[in-house]
Amino acid sequence: MNNAARNMAIDHAIMDSIRAGNQQPTIRFYRWKPSAVSIGCFQGMNDEVNIDKCNAAGVSYVRRRTGGGAVYHDMDGEITYSVIGNENIFPKNIIESYKTICSWIINGLLRLGIKAEFAPINDIVTSGKKISGNAQTRREGILLQHGTILYKVDFEKMFSLLNVSKEKISDKMIKSAGERVTSVSEHSDAKLEELYAALLAGFVEGKDFFYASLSKEEEDEAADLEKRIYSTYEWNFSR
């Protein structure tokens, strides 16, 4: 578990490391401590995030390098993953590459008895409700896709942290979100650790793999990127 800025910096550092030929294609699972809101790279921080509420709740916020929407990463309510590798090992078509990586999540969820399917552009749904959101970028030959798999959602807290109008934070809105979004805990008794194990198995199936930690160089670069980019006002409030 890392803070929001460090989590984004680690994904960035691994991209750089693979580009330099110092790292293999990487699958990473992580959580957020403290809980955080991440926004897409084209979103306005003040438009999307209730900064005062986040500060009061000890929830941090960060701008991603990827597009897509605002996500509340509850420390105990979701698992985030990233897949990073040379672009040429994934389908050239962006939607197809989402589909490929999302199939690993679907495979993992199936191990818990949850039948899910890819819903273009970048979602995974089960029984028509979103259970996973994903975002991808490609930079100088390296693909990064990261996403969240929802374990348990506290809609009330989520809406208090995101900037939706007061009228929308009504019971009706929360009910409406509940009709569109679901989580693993609504379909399975699996513990968070069991979800992680299922996802891990789903992601690595059919692949040669080994477990590894960040190299010293990656750790150092991540610390530098966290300081220079992802923890700065200039980056996070650039839009």
């Binding site: 897409g40 979103q43 306005g44 597009g67 897509g68 929407g69 552009i121 970028t137």
Partner: protein, 99 residues
């Protein structure tokens, strides 16, 4: 003047535009939960729209955006040049209506 407009793309994403302008566009911010590869192309699009006559209209805005996308070999996913140009035109009209 300042105008803004938010459009939900059918079956797609949210596009939000903020425009500062006089007779010409002074600054455009294109925001939303769409995807653009490479992401840096957003700067080129916003830059190209600066200085354009505000009365140019949607088709002119769309052509500028499409050309910038082509130059940057960029792909918009979940939105398109037409939607963004509509939002710019509406944002300008919104600004005029509220002034």
């Amino acid at each position: 003047m300042h105008g803004k407009c938010k459009i939900k793309v059918p079956g797609g994403k949210m596009v939000s535009v903020k425009v500062d302008y006089g007779k010409k566009i002074e600054r455009v911010s294109i925001l939303g939960d769409f995807f653009l590869h490479p992401e840096s192309a957003i700067n080129k699009i916003e830059e190209r729209l600066k200085g354009i006559d505000t009365e140019s209209g949607k088709n002119a805005f769309e052509m500028i955006i499409a050309n910038a996308l082509k130059e940057e070999k960029a792909s918009l996913i979940g939105a398109d040049a037409g939607i963004i140009s509509s939002a710019i035109e509406k944002a300008i009209n919104d600004g005029m209506a509220s002034d």
